[in-house]
Amino acid sequence: MITTVEGETVKKIEPVLGYLHRGFEKLGEYKLYKSGLPLTDRMDYLASIFNNHVYSLAVEKLCKIEVPLRAKYIRVLVCELDRIASHAIGIGAFLQDLGNPTPFVYMFRDREEVYELFEEICGARQLYSYIRPGGVLLDLTAGFESRTEKFCQKMDKFLEEYNDLLDNNEIFQLRTKNIGAISGEKALNYSLSGPNLRASGISKDLRKDSPCEIYDRLDFDTCTEEAGDVWSRYKVRMNEIRQSMRIIQQILGNIPGGNYLNQTPAVLTPSPGEVYTSVESPRGQLGIYMVSDGSEKPYRYKIRPPSFLAVGALNEMIKNEKIADAIAILGSIDIVLGEVDR
């Protein structure tokens, strides 16, 4: 970020992007609809199941593919697991930037548990390619549900630990309260979404507003905070981990039997048209705009990355703060550069 400073106060910030630009949108035009799925993993690589999810939803809408009920339950389960993992690393990295290396290592311990769960069901620890158009790749293994239950109990205890370590720590509160505040109106103008928007007091959650899969059958709260500063964003993410655990508890034990994947031909040729869908990723509203011209490859698809727009709002948040605060704010908006640059 090119920072214009006056003493220790930041006057203007200009993020320089593009160092991780790999041209996924152009690459996607040369791949078949189903072959292009593993590409999407690599965009937001810390919460990669959501990229798969949004791509599969778009393809299903274009090609009019039905998803069996069991697959929908499994999809929500893995999405919420990945949400916990992603918030864990977001908070851990944010705290490490602030100067405390310990929560980062603790969060990795928790993320390791999620990795092991995923390795059981899809063989991959990080870039899953698990959610496919038509369902999920493989069925859940035996005993997966009991292991997920144990993980939720452990995570509960860990969250208590974090609250003890951090919430009442006066230095942490000094570093984060009233820093980088952005009002709800400005947040809407900058098209922030997800925890960044909810921390500014606007209670919008795509899982409640336009529920895909089975989110309308589940009971969970939208975590909102009023101030819009770094502390609020941290709190919103911590609360969202709890809500995700609540969702997982509701799903476990209630997954219906049946098919987990509706088989579709390897080469899909939808009729010409376009679609825009979005899901609630841990970073915000992850959207995809897919255009098809009747051939077997997408004519164009664009990913609407929430982190890209969050970087756009950085200048607004960091104006007139100190350099040390600039780091804290950058850590708190939880961006993943793979998504920003694609």
């Binding site: 220790e8 705290l95 490490q96 930037d97 602030l98 100067g99 405390n100 290396p101 310990t102 290592v105 603790y106 311990r109 370590l165 720590n169 230095i171 942490f172 000094l174 570093r175 100190k322 350099i323 040390a324 605060d325 780091i327």
Partner: protein
Amino acid sequence: MILYFVKKNLLISDNPLSTIMSFSIIKIPEVLLMTAIVIVLLLSLSVMVMFLVWFERRLLAFIQDRQGPNRVGPQGILQSLADGIKLFFKESIIPAKADRPLFFLAPVLVFVPAAMSFAVFPVNKDLSAINLNVGLLYLFSLSSVGAMGILLAGWSSNNKYSLLGALRLVAKNISYEIPLVLSTLGVVMITGSLNLLTIISGQTNLWFIFLQPIGFLIYLISAIAEINRSPFDLVEAESELIGGFHTEYSGFMFALFFFAEYVNTVVISIIASILFLGGPQGPLLPGIVWLIIKAYGFIVIIMWIRGTLVRFRIDQLLHFCWKRLVPLALLNLAFTALGITIWQNI
């Protein structure tokens, strides 16, 4: 620790001035002996720092629920030796526009005062290498010289991040020297002397930590701030300033900065145990062992704090010093004075 016994033999009188004057006629064996002493000192400091580096890494790893270095040597104890050897042989890259004399002078100015502090530390109740009447003043003035060294490092690197780190450091060190000295003034008032041996002998019945609890806490906080340790390590904050003042240093000069940080940690731990915990005194074991035990207690506390707390911001740091610590230290002094007057009139 061999050092102390060698220096004891060399001690001519209590007065440092006469010691220096006795060397005015240059005697070759004496000079060789002094060189040997310096080499022994540096070696023993190196061993101590290497042990401390390993100790810190294992302790932090234990706090963070992971292993530390445990491959090189038994339990990883030779890891710091391997790191030291690597740093020693690395190329010292000097920036083209750096101010060369200052660039080379800076690590020396940081490391030497830290090492020089060991001259006044008492080994026993009545024995120290140099028995200075103004021992405490000597120690605090050495820490100021160290701060100047870091400022030189930041300036001569010709790098905006280093300069920013150095400026933060100057503000911080100047500010925190005040509560540092004020907190120890209570101890000085009780014993009536700046001589470290007198301070120790004043604690034979009761340790000063019970008489000066607030002074102790203020001293601990100010001392951690002075040596740039977490949570006051914004001078070298890795996420913000790359490396702060030591960004441009590599190889042996970087190793010197690294050494100096650990030597400083030991120095303030020893000062804390001398001033507040009675120094080298204790029932069964020899004095030096007690000094080491007490100093390590403080070292563990300092490392523990590093693993737990978030960094301060510079203006919050200064706010904390001037608005909280200094008034508290002054109040402490006032109460101490009151207490002494009452005690003397009983």
